[in-house]
């Protein structure tokens, strides 16, 4: 008895599917009519975000003394970008400033840097690195879990195959960095709780 019912229900669903496929296609074609951004590599997208951070963040004046002072984006530790960062940012300028990409093996090598991407290879040393950079006006960016909780400024994460980011606004304040509302409204806002 149950088996017959089951077979019946399977048949009915098949009938439903016959209408379902053209319907689904119609929906897709309608939706495809709107131009949509094409997918891209994870680190290409992240490179483009770093470019936008350079665009939508204001640094203290002493870090960018002249109107054409270069904007420095650094990568600390094992570089996950490969050529992506150079390819995406290649010869670009933000607000008239050229962008320079630097790679560092250790935090001690950093002299002047505006945006510092800290690789997951530096996971163990994050507290020490952040301590070293305290008050230098560097916007720290990483993918390391708990990065913003540890006092970092921006953390990338993936959600449903899209790149998302958190901003620790308290850290940005500490570094006297002004983050544009254009960025803030798209970010997940993290606030540090007052330490006792």
């Amino acid at each position: 008895m149950r088996v017959t019912e089951h077979v019946q229900s399977v048949k009915e669903t098949r009938r439903a599917r016959n209408i379902g496929v053209p319907l689904a296609l119609a929906i897709i074609i309608a939706a495809a009519a709107h131009a949509q951004p094409q997918p891209a590599g994870e680190y290409q997208i992240k490179s483009a975000f770093l470019f936008n951070f350079a665009k939508f963040v204001e640094w203290p004046a002493q870090l960018l003394p002249r109107g054409d002072s270069p904007m420095i984006i650094g990568v600390l530790g094992d570089d996950p970008f490969g050529n992506d960062l150079d390819d995406v940012i290649n010869n670009k300028t933000v607000n008239g400033r050229p962008i320079v990409i630097k790679r560092y093996a250790s935090a001690a090598e950093i002299q002047l840097c505006h945006i510092l991407f800290i690789s997951t290879s530096e996971r163990k040393d994050v507290p020490m690195i952040l301590h070293t950079l305290d008050g230098t006006g560097v916007l720290t960016v990483s993918e390391i879990e708990q990065f913003t909780q540890l006092g970092g400024a921006v953390r990338f994460y993936l959600a449903d195959a899209k790149v998302r980011f958190e901003i620790n606004v308290d850290e940005a304040d500490r570094e006297h960095i002004r983050v544009s509302s254009k960025l803030l409204k798209l970010a997940t806002i993290i606030r540090e709780q007052k330490r006792e």
Binding site: P39, F49, I189
Partner: protein
């Protein structure tokens, strides 16, 4: 052979051709607005995990991208792409899954966890795969460790550990719905929605439902293997403070599957074939507290309660499990990383026997307690690490079991890892090996009018099966372009399960019908060795083209003791292919069109009379808009039907696996 080559060419030529076409330059991402950038989908797989690369164990990770591009609809189907794992589909709702051999429908040397919750059944130490159909769109990753993982992972981690992790509500946002149909099975749908309540509180809900019809047989007619399930769950994830992460989650499911059984009968023709349906259901709640004490010290406390229920013509089993585990990792000095922990599990069941499956004690509760400690010592800074650890496990059947391991890993440069390990693991007795009696065959006895009935009975003295495993592995990675992962192993087993003749046949009665009872009893009278190796290569020749190749070799011999009367258990080695290999190709034809292929070869299973087979799956995925994706998969393309395994020892019929076309529409919002 000629046909295979032709099939191979048909598959490869389009890929080579398309990859040659696929050289158009990337659009400039910096021209997009921030809002547009937020909507760009990530195509390439994430970079290799450092932790995986330096792990001193044979580990393979199936990522979300691998899952999405596999077109698979169940966990066992996903495991086909993992080197060292044997997967055979028995019918539409049953699988045999094992690692490094000992495969079968009741394979019992694997530990399988879903979000830290153990899903192997203490009844037979195996997994009811039909009851684990979590929606694959919610699976974050599947870690597969071949070889013993007993020290850290715990009971039953003898030949391998499969650790399935679902997404964390923190890391996903918005909704995803996926629905479609499979020409050989039926319709399916899954969905997940997650959101943020405030800056520290995240939640998600998910649900899945599917209906698999009976397999149509090549000669007309159909098998009895329909299967349907409804499943749903939720998770709350709360960052209670900067250092505290609390997770609460629950999961409920209910399903029905059909099966055809051949059971022994006391009257000619001595077997009875019945069409049966099994109802199964269950649910669980899990709470986890993770505390980051300092950058070098973290703690985790986890507890869950799980209920399962199954009922068919053979038996009815209701089971409750309560489990609590604590784990603490810290570095007392920079060169030591210590992990220690303790756990307790209580499981109690109610078993209703049938004419075919009997039981000594209808209800039984079992305790399992464990404590473990492991230290990773840096011998040479950034180059040489030694890990030593042991687990002490206490169970009601065999009391104390000690499972130590030692692992050495050498990382001479960022590109090479060489590791070796020696470990001991035990497979503690299952409830059925102690308490259950199964009628397996009936035939006319030499005494006129009297039927002989063979049964396999539990043995109160059944002890643990033991394994001493030696492993050696090597990994190589040259940037993102090429990576290789090779492992070889030599496993020595003792006290393996056999079924022994005990005493003389006795006269018994089923009601008023007399029969000659020939009992066999589970015992531990076999030893054995297995050896082999696995290789997994990944090659990224072009930005948009990736190839994964894997091969698995498995040999071995099982040797019953001189005192053993069991002649069939030693044949179980031949339930495993001596050779299997796969090739997976991932190609992004354009930014929104993916063409993927899986080619899979499994050698003969002599003990199951199964010839070797090729299995080809092709998939086309089209990201139609940033929200809608359409995927078409052709499964088992080369043959209309093929069979992968024989009937189960419980008399459940196997069925051929048909060619199938699967269409899936996915909507993200």
């Amino acid at each position: 052979m000629k046909r295979r080559i032709i099939v191979g060419m048909i598959v490869f030529i389009p890929f080579v051709w398309m990859s040659a076409l696929a050289q158009e330059s990337a659009a400039d991402l910096t021209d997009l607005t921030l809002e547009e950038l937020m909507e760009v989908n990530v195509t390439s797989a994430s970079k290799r995990s450092e932790r995986l690369f330096e792990t001193p164990a044979a580990m393979y990770v199936v990522t979300q991208e691998d899952i999405r591009r596999s077109g698979a609809s169940s966990i066992p189907e996903l495991l086909r792409m993992v080197p060292g794992v044997q997967v055979a589909r028995i019918d539409a709702n049953k699988w045999a899954v094992s690692a490094r051999g000992f495969n079968g429908p009741f394979a019992n040397k694997l530990l399988v966890l879903i979000d830290g919750r153990v899903v192997y059944s203490p009844l037979f130490s195996g997994v009811y795969w039909d009851a684990q159909s979590i929606p694959l769109l919610d699976v974050q990753r599947v870690e597969v460790i071949r070889g013993p993982g007993a020290t850290l992972w715990g009971a039953n981690a003898v030949n391998g550990v499969i650790n399935i992790t679902t997404t964390s509500a923190r890391d996903v946002s918005g909704g995803v719905m996926s629905a479609g149909g499979n020409t050989a099975a039926g319709p399916f749908a899954s969905g997940r929605y997650s959101a943020q309540l405030d800056s520290t509180l995240y939640w998600k809900v998910y649900a899945t439902a599917f209906n698999v019809g009976h397999t149509r047989l090549p000669g007309g007619g159909r098998a009895t293997d329909a299967w349907s399930t409804v499943r749903g769950g939720a998770q709350i994830n709360w960052s209670a403070s900067q250092t505290t992460l609390l997770t609460l989650q629950g999961d409920l499911y209910s399903g029905k599957k059909h099966q055809r059984l051949r059971v022994p009968a006391l009257t000619p023709p001595y077997t009875l074939t019945i069409d049966d349906a099994m109802d199964f259901s269950g649910g669980n709640v899990l709470a986890r507290w993770e505390e980051t004490v300092s950058p070098t010290s973290s703690m985790k406390l986890q507890s869950y309660f799980d209920r399962t229920f199954r009922q068919d013509a053979l038996y009815k089993e209701g089971r409750n499990t309560f489990d609590i585990d604590f784990q603490h990792g810290f570095s007392p000095t920079p060169s030591h990383k210590i992990v220690w922990g303790a756990g307790y599990r209580l499981t109690w069941d109610k078993f209703t026997p049938s004419a075919f499956v009997g039981i000594v004690t209808p209800s039984r509760s079992a305790n399992l307690a464990n404590a473990f400690v492991q230290d990773e010592v840096t011998l040479v800074e950034q180059t040489l690490f030694l890990t030593v650890g042991t687990k002490f496990e206490y169970n009601d059947y065999t009391y104390l079991e000690i499972q130590p391991n030692a692992r050495l890993v050498l990382t001479p440069s960022r590109h090479h890892t060489l590791w070796t390990a020696v470990s001991r693991a035990v497979r503690t007795p299952s409830r059925s090996e102690r308490d259950v009696s199964i009628a397996i065959a009936a035939f006319p006895s030499p005494l006129p009018g009297l039927t002989a009935l063979v049964s396999v009975d539990g043995n109160q003295a059944f002890r643990s099966e033991c394994l001493t495993a030696s492993e050696l592995g090597y990994r190589y990675a040259s940037s993102e372009l090429f990576s290789a992962d090779i492992a070889i192993f030599y496993n020595v087993y003792d006290h393996l399960r056999t079924a022994e003749r005990v005493g003389d046949p006795t006269l018994k009665y089923a009601g008023t019908t007399p029969y000659l009872s020939i009992p066999l009893k589970f015992d531990n009278q076999m030893k054995g060795t297995t050896y082999g190796g696995e290789a997994a290569l990944s090659w990224h020749p072009l930005d948009r083209w990736k190839l994964n190749v894997g091969a698995t070799l498995l040999r071995g011999q099982l040797q019953p003791y001189a005192t053993s009367t069991d002649t069939s258990s030693s044949e179980e080695m031949k339930n495993n292919p001596q050779f299997q290999c796969y090739l997976r190709s991932f190609l992004n034809v354009t930014r929104d069109l993916e063409a993927d292929a899986l080619i899979y070869f499994v050698d003969t299973l002599p003990n199951q009379s199964m010839p070797g087979y090729f299995h080809v799956d092709l998939r086309l995925g089209w990201q139609a808009t940033s929200n809608f994706a359409l995927s078409m998969t052709a499964q088992n393309l080369t043959r209309a039907h093929h069979q992968e395994f024989g009937d189960t020892p419980l008399g459940e019929f196997a069925a051929p696996i048909p060619r199938a076309f699967v269409g899936t529409l996915t909507w993200r919002f």
